[in-house]
Symmetry: C2
Subunit: 185 residues, 2 copies
Amino acid sequence: MNFCSHCGHTVRFAIPRGDDRPRYLCDECGTIHYQNPRIVAGTLPVSGSRVLLCRRAIAPRKGYWTLPAGYMENAETTVEAAARETLEEACAEVTVHGLYTLINLPHINQVYMMFRADLVGGFDAGPESLEVALFEEHEIPWDELAFPTIERTLRHFYRDRVEGDYPLHISDITAEDRERYFGSA
Amino acid sequence: MNFCSHCGHTVRFAIPRGDDRPRYLCDECGTIHYQNPRIVAGTLPVSGSRVLLCRRAIAPRKGYWTLPAGYMENAETTVEAAARETLEEACAEVTVHGLYTLINLPHINQVYMMFRADLVGGFDAGPESLEVALFEEHEIPWDELAFPTIERTLRHFYRDRVEGDYPLHISDITAEDRERYFGSA
């Protein structure tokens, strides 16, 4: 951020009076530009014993497999965001169940919220997917998953499926976890 | 938003190519300025049979009672944000338990995430609170609560406390709900 989005004046990065962390400040119009984490909402769509995955057609991690998920938009709910992303990426309608994983990624200012869901009807590759397919557990491409959040959500799912009980799992992924996941790439 | 925060050029509000909703666009440098919902994280701090509430010293709803909560910041987790807000507003340390209410407010682009917590030690009014106090159920100032999210979280708590089981409650508050809550104020 270089300029005030309100008045166009240059901004500076400093701690406002009465605050305890630096913000982008406009000395011309007085606006304080707060920046906050974004929510990534998505689903784990299930059809019988199989799980739906999408192979990414776009960066980052083009060609890798993911659960349908993306940035929550203004004016929608978390459940609506998760269902919309599923429709956009997999052309799939789902019945959304409970929140299943809540994963904080503080180093990139993201909060993942993945919901369990049942696939309703068919699916197809949306514009952001190369292909979309259903996988049995032994078919999951563990070495070709796009993000550590996706692997973690799937690992929880297969562990919990043994008992048929799917509590909310809250966890964090650190910069070190992420580096380990992506290797030197 | 009137100006591009990257290059200072004026922006226009239009649907980018390949997108389906309007964004602030800079024709000079090509930046698309996405805007996304913000997370409000907080706690429901419990001490024995009592619940801790803060009376707001700042707008909006100055003088009304609330649970400690506020905007999640970059570079922190949801649990850290909830604990930090509790420390700031009530000078209270807490042990944070599970996520308890997840409330979408799509008309104001907020997602509330309230965690149950146990109060550890004392408390005091932080700079954003006029006073902080513990309340038995029959003492809760239902007509002087600051926000519908706070009332809803407390209502769930007293219903669930009967059985001692506190599942996650996901719900929405619409513009109409909010208008009904605040009346003509």
